[in-house]
Symmetry: C3
């Protein structure tokens, strides 16, 4: 019977995906956190050496292809901007003391500020100063991309203590022709079909947004190298907006391979999780994440697509409409620490990083293993007892539930319902359904159909 | 690029529809109310001079084609009935005093009553008397169409004070071959496709039901003559049921032009608003009204189609199935004053009439401006800043929301989603979405597609 | 007009189905209960004389074709098991007293127990004893199909009083080659299309599960012989699982005729009702039962399909996917008496049986009478008054509702909406809609379309 042998061929080559085995790897939270600690000090921006330093660290773990796109290059409707680098910045009072000091936090400088060096009155300086009256201890994070200007960010307490008539102001930065830097890592799987995982790398010393995404992606890449997987994985580390736009502009010929995708961001705090669906709304990745979040988290929030957010804005632009969603813990803009110095290494935690990783691994397991099977004994129920399948279910506790899962799989495997379809209809976790499908395929009651 | 030039051609010819500019026209409520006051005294019925007087007043404002359909004419399953006219009616007591007097309210006579003139005992008279025990101060409104009889309506207090043994009864009416009168006004637009707006004109001295609909329709017709509009508008003033049936019977060849339609009734009180969907349920007019009511009114009620109601019953009969819904404030039969003398000029108010008009204008704006656009830079987001589009958004307050609206329009304009589709998906008001579409089309980021 | 004459031909041959007239047949509850009393004592199992005795009683009422399938016959993935018969069983204490006695309840023996006759210590015996600590007065019902063993069921009180060191144990049963017995009754209707009604007959002295289903089915069969009906009815009395599997294996060539089906079980208590949809989920039988339950019962529960339950598991296996749902009062496993001696003749009642029968009859009426009609006056409403249709509605009370039902029927009968569609959309009971359709068809305003 050709369907059957074909199916067995496939089943053998795929099998359990290994993603679930990686969950709860001991001390992975500490490892992820340590990596975030190392990356925290770099002064990243949309261009410049902060991004290169970050990618160098990631490249210690995974084979990274780093791309440098020269300033002035047209990428769709955009132009690659000048490269920004910064050495030092401060505001000195009349006594020569640094009242605002870049060396204590790179958030003190409006990111991408043009160089400046002069003395000015407090009245002249004030429009260049940004603080948060409601959060007087936090430095805000501000940028001035695409509009050449400069400024300082400081705590409201600092601002209120500046009583001198004049100050010495210095931003020792450069804004010159150079390059935009982004990197990618492609890890081939059994098929050329791809899962796209993307993290933005342009935020300076902010931990949740988005060192959390970067370290998860680096760790995933490291593991993916060592295991068998159905899909090829494409990991993208790029500055927000202009970085993903540049990547898309340089890879239009490869986009047809992308079957599923996730933007990973804000995954180090203990809120959420929060998922924003792709523009398609019902792509397999949308269904897989919704399913996993529903079964694993009480406080999960699954939201409709909206065109505001991170790089899914570009992946989901109408000319591409890729099946890429956004996975976070607390949603961007919804936690008080967002885009302030409150989003520091104390705001993220090893346990939260580890939990987020488990969530991503569980989602990837669904994507890897979802497929259709054909029930080879579709007329009435097959007799499970004579095949020892009841015994295979083990102890009492989960037995009734696993038996029901077996019946669901047998009942629904008519070649048109995938395992995720069955998990959704039965309201049982995909893991349990897939476990039963493996068991039943082992007893030659099911045959996997070719994956599409 | 042909799509683009085509689209710009269309955009230029349509532009902002002008309907929104008409909203909140100063003192329009007073003007509408004054017109209702003038129409209030006429004794309308399904035939006769009351309808003609009413149409004469409307004809002062808009070009009205008045049709007279002779008694006995077959219109589908119906036959045009006799023409009814009335000069006077009363019940006199033994002392010769009018205890019930048509001159004080035309509701006192059962509408369409056959003539009668005789003396009769109270016992003989009683079956011909109608009152409302629960509302002892109100005169009910009753009709005897399609069954020749006669009767009087009076307050329950009046009824209880009638203690004489006999009365002189007179209804000086005529019920004779004549005609059914209805009128229409067609105001050509850019296309031959039509919006049908219909109000029933058969109720005597009742204000909300339906002088409110008549005066709104008359005012709209007046404005539509002076402005550019995409659709042709067909305004129908017809007696309920038999009037719309006669109109449909005489215009079957034109029905294919009707794209959208509304029956306007009970629009002068401050309840609701209430919308009953067309038989189709998801016609564009159903979606447009639902959208506008959802965004503008907290207490709006949108109801499924039901085959009971006003003339939408005929427009939505299965042989036509026109996309015509019913728009009201309080729903018919749901306010205590309905079909009683309580529905008088005190029950309606200039502010409510004006508010209802704004609602209708906002709906018509959606119908006029809804269309599909093509994003001309569909790959990634276009750079809005370099086109000055952020600056175009103006002050802080609505800025974030307008920016989001721009992103929605760009993201969804792939040629398959209309502006109303986008407004629904984004849960933003159509006005805002359409405003952004105009702005983006002005920057050559969007091209309008030919309207269908 | 050919549609019309065709339709009238059909209407004449179908007419009111008679199912509604059977509702509330006087003393039917007592009759059903008396039949259950007669069947209660038999020791049914999946094979053996208990089933034959039961079918003999049913055959007094309806023409029953009894089938005997020899032990060892392959039926799909299963093999017909040995035949089990039992004469006596007991546990005697040291004094020779029967402390557990089959003669007092056939539940005392694990159903399908292999024969045993020996003395054994209490320690050896204990693993063969089953009781319910939480329900110390009830004997549990246990089976040992497909795994040869033996055992006794007893009340927990009995178990606790067994203090002797040793007992004499006897199960005087036989487990030998023989046959599986099931029966069916086919009652031809106007068409060869079938309604399948199925009840399991394998439970010993348990009343609700499933004497209730058996007696309802027998009574229905008796009535169906005497009346005209559109569908042919196939009534199946078979042991659970293996019985329906055997029937399916022997009747694959007839399955294409089955249009609707119900498994009837647990219909004698006063809970529920509970309906489990067929695997299709939206089959006509699913919609019909949902509709009837929604309109007739406040506590009705309509549940999605699940592959666990009674014989609908086999009918709904993916190789057949028949439109067969499960109708019960309390759901199996959800009442404490389920599968214990608490499910006895006191647990069921004549009133509940009668009410369940009314429910089934109302569902069958929907299946029988559902069809599409064509409005023959589809343009505008027809004039009902001139045809005396308002007068046909009778007294005040239900008049407004019947008038609305007439308008719904006229409005929706465009040839694409069946009466059940109309009942669902209007949220009115099918009976009322069908009554109006008959009335309107009688006035030549509707023509029934050929049934599909």
């Amino acid at each position: 019977m050709s369907v059957r042998s074909e199916a067995h061929g496939h089943a053998a080559s795929v099998g359990p995906s290994g993603f679930l085995d990686l969950r709860s790897t001991p001390s992975v939270g500490d490892e992820l956190y340590a990596l975030a600690e190392r990356l925290f000090p770099f002064c990243r921006s949309i261009t410049g050496n902060g991004v290169r330093q970050t990618l160098d660290v990631v490249a210690e773990r995974i084979p990274l292809q780093v791309n440098e796109i020269p300033t002035g290059t047209a990428v769709f409707d955009w132009t690659v901007p000048k490269e920004w680098n910064i050495r030092d910045a401060y505001i000195k009072d009349a006594a020569g003391n640094r009242v605002v000091d870049f060396r204590s936090s790179n958030l003190h400088v409006v990111n991408y500020s043009a160089p400046v060096r002069c003395r000015m009155s407090m009245d002249e300086l004030r429009p260049h100063l940004h603080s948060l009256p409601d959060r007087p201890d936090w430095i805000p994070y501000r940028t001035s991309y695409y509009k050449e200007t400069w400024g300082f960010c400081l705590t409201h307490k600092q601002l209120e203590s500046m009583r001198d008539a004049g100050y010495e102001v210095c931003i020792d930065s450069s804004l010159e022709p150079g390059a935009l830097t982004y990197a990618e890592c492609v890890l081939p799987g059994e098929t050329a079909e791809e899962v796209l995982l993307s993290a933005h790398v342009c935020h300076p010393s902010l931990a949740n947004d988005n060192l959390s995404g970067i370290v998860l992606l680096a760790w995933l890449g490291e593991q993916l190298q060592r295991m068998n997987h159905r899909y090829s994985y494409r990991l993208i580390f790029a500055p927000g907006t202009i970085g993903s736009i540049a990547w898309l502009a340089n890879n239009e010929d490869k986009l047809h391979r992308i079957r599923h995708g996730l933007v990973l961001a804000c995954l180090g705090d203990d809120g959420g999780p929060t998922y924003k669906r792709s523009r398609r709304g019902d792509a397999l990745v949308d269904r897989a994440v919704s399913h996993v979040l529903h079964h694993r988290f009480q406080n999960a929030s699954v939201r409709e697509f909206s065109p505001y957010g991170y790089d899914e804005r570009q992946y989901c632009s109408p000319g591409f409409n890729l099946p890429v969603g956004l996975l976070e813990r607390s949603g961007y803009g919804e936690f008080p620490e967002y885009h302030t110095s409150g989003d520091n290494l104390s705001f993220i935690a090893p346990t939260a990083l580890s939990e987020s990783l488990d969530m991503v691994l569980t989602v990837l397991d669904v994507l890897e293993r979802d497929r259709c099977y054909q029930n080879l004994k579709p007329k009435c129920e097959p007799q499970l007892g004579k095949r020892g399948l009841y015994d295979a279910l083990g102890g009492e506790n989960d037995r009734a539930s696993l038996q029901l899962a077996m019946l669901w799989v047998l009942n629904q495997c008519d070649g048109t319902h995938s395992l995720l379809d069955i998990a959704e209809r039965s309201e049982m976790p995909f893991e349990k359904i897939a476990w039963c499908a493996d068991l039943l395929a082992g007893s030659e009651l099911l045959a996997g159909l070719p994956q599409q």
